[in-house]
Amino acid sequence: MRRSLFRKNLVTALLLAPATLWLVVFLVLPFVAIAVFSVGERAPEGGYQAALTFAQYANLPARATAFWNTMVLAPAGALACLLVAYPVAYYLALRAPQRWRLILLALIVIPFWTSLLMRTYAWMYILGGRGIPALLAYVGIEDLRLINTPGAVLLGIVYGYLPLMILPIYVSLERLDRRLLEASADLGATPLSTFLGVTLRLSLPGVMTGFSLVMILLLGEYLIPTLLGGGKVFFIGNALVDLFLQSRNWPFGSAIAITLVLVSVVVLIVANRISTRLSGARRVDLI
């Protein structure tokens, strides 16, 4: 009896070992290192020098703009994604003819086959001087600047992250029991109140999954603000690259990174709470 229990535990341990090892080496250890760096000092020639000080954290306001941009544009970007993605997911799951569904889903995922870098470069040209503004100049609208504005960054974000928002919402709508919609109509609910009271409520786990997924990725976004924001709209990600690679102020960069991680965790917990409460589901599925 005891022996078989031991064997069972051993098998469990063996099964978990690779993943555990991977996470310890590539997640836990670097995280500990960053945490240690964040209470250190910048060595005179750059890098890290051991110390125990919270000066780096006290210095966070120096990067307030990056934090501000991230904290505004990440949720705004996720929200914009959501507003575009929900109708698409709704159409795919509830309205699209069955035989078209897979093809349409594939069309949504196909852009992922090209690197985000290339696709964002393409947007640089579309929004840049020789793109849309040049076309608009033909019809008399002069001096319209699109590139290097928060709007361009937002557009890039919606474009780049849309599939990540569509898929979880699609899955939750696709799982929705259609008879619930009939039951709601049977009980006198108009199509609008059925949508608000049943469809939307029951797809919230998908909405929250998509929202937190996009939001968290956006908190660390670096590429889109660089290319479409032109250094004028920079995110925390840009600040980190700057601090680690240019000014080599590792402790300050680490303090910013740790703060970012904490913010992300808070976002996840809050999103999870909200969707659990509203949908009555006991867990939130990641896709």
């Binding site: 008879r179 009939e182 039951a183 709601s184 109509a185 006198g188 029951l202």
Partner: protein, 378 residues
């Protein structure tokens, strides 16, 4: 019954592409009755129910609820409520919120006090008082069934539609719910329309049974009528158990025909439709109309193959030479050890008037087509 029927079908046909699910049905369901739509899967009974509920629109004809044509009226404006198969309760709402869902949709709005009051009444009506705050997934199947009933009835519908409501329950619970549904219907006094493929359920619960096959109504009548005087071979075979003996018409006299069976025996049977001499017929003989006795008398001689003892009755499968296997049912009286044993020879008799003769041809044909229908529709 001069009153306006609660539900009326006028020449209703429903097609899905090339498939005709319901074909030219005329039907009037009298007020305050418990009516069962009974038939094999794919016979169109669920489609009929869904046309009453407004989830399907007839391709031709009219569906009327209390005399009003329902064409173009969406489900949320119809004075009927449905108990769905597997209940379709809202998983994100608790029991009380589920029940008051319909009340919250009412315009002009009802006061929250009235909503709470009526939801509370509905809960006690289905014996779930005190369960209001429970989550749906915390309830047993029987309790979910009651919530679904309360959720529909709380809106005081003109007609309650029930789509195979008992199919998901175990046998014991099903019997209890059958009685409860019957009592509820009498108490509230509104029309219940029940869809079921279970003939026992239809016979035991309803005032009227509407037997459907191949998208048509085959027979509408009280349960005893349906059982004793089936309109055709399909009803005789589908409702209750029966023995079908093939033969040919050997003679005609008024309502009776003489049928020569495969083994040469000639029996006298009643007919429901005109038959002609020499026509191939099937004779239906209910198992309980057969009587068994020691060999020597009776119409047939056979050998008991199997005995299924059911407590109050016993069923026998009896092998009759030239005819095949016959099912007989005999009452069991305690202390009277008159059970026949497998292998024992017996004589089989039947009461005069018990055999019913039907034209032979249309049965198998329809049945096969039905099975195809069922496959396509499911």
């Amino acid at each position: 019954m001069t009153a306006v029927p609660d539900i009326e079908f006028r020449a209703v046909t429903k097609r899905y592409g090339a498939i005709t699910a319901v074909s030219d049905i005329d039907l009037a369901i009298p007020p305050s009755a418990f009516v069962a739509l009974l038939g094999p899967s794919g016979c169109g009974k669920t489609t009929c129910l869904r046309m009453i509920g407004g989830f399907e629109q007839p391709s031709e004809g009219q569906v009327l609820i209390r005399g009003r044509d329902m064409a173009g009226t969406p489900p949320y404006r119809r004075p009927v409520n449905m108990v769905f198969q597997q209940y379709a309760l809202f998983p994100h709402l608790d029991v009380e919120e589920n029940i008051s869902y319909g009340l919250r949709q009412a315009r002009p709005r009802l006061s929250s006090r009235e909503i709470a009051l009526r939801a509370g009444e509905a809960l006690s009506m289905v014996q779930l008082a005190g369960y209001g705050r429970r989550k749906i997934h915390e309830l047993s199947g029987g309790q979910q069934q009651r919530v679904a009933l309360a959720r529909a009835l709380v809106n005081k519908p003109a007609v309650l539609l029930l789509d195979e409501p008992l199919a998901a329950l175990d046998k014991k619970l099903r019997t209890d719910m059958q009685i409860e549904l019957q009592n509820l219907q009498r108490e509230i006094g509104i029309t219940f329309v029940l869809v079921t493929h279970d003939q026992e359920e239809a016979l035991s619960m309803s005032d009227f049974v509407c037997v459907m096959n191949g998208g048509r109504v085959v027979q509408l009548g009280q349960p005893s009528e349906i059982y004793d005087e089936p309109a055709d071979l399909f009803v005789a075979d589908f409702v209750g158990k029966t023995n079908l003996l093939n033969g040919k018409v050997a003679g005609l006299s008024g309502d009776l025909v003489d049928v020569a069976l495969a083994d040469g025996t000639v029996i006298s049977a009643r007919k429901r439709v005109p038959l002609s001499r020499g026509e191939a017929v099937s004779v239906s003989l209910r198992p309980e109309s057969l009587s068994l006795s020691a060999p020597g008398s009776g119409a047939f001689k056979g050998i008991v193959r199997n005995r299924i003892f059911l407590g109050s009755t016993a069923e026998y499968a009896i092998e009759v030479q030239g005819i095949g296997s016959l099912l007989a049912k005999a009452d069991h009286v305690i202390g009277q050890g008159n059970l026949f044993k497998p292998g024992e020879p017996v004589a089989i008799g039947f009461a005069a008037g018990a055999p019913l003769a039907f034209p032979h041809a249309n049965n198998n044909g329809t049945n096969q087509r039905e099975d195809q229908h069922a496959e396509i529709l499911s």
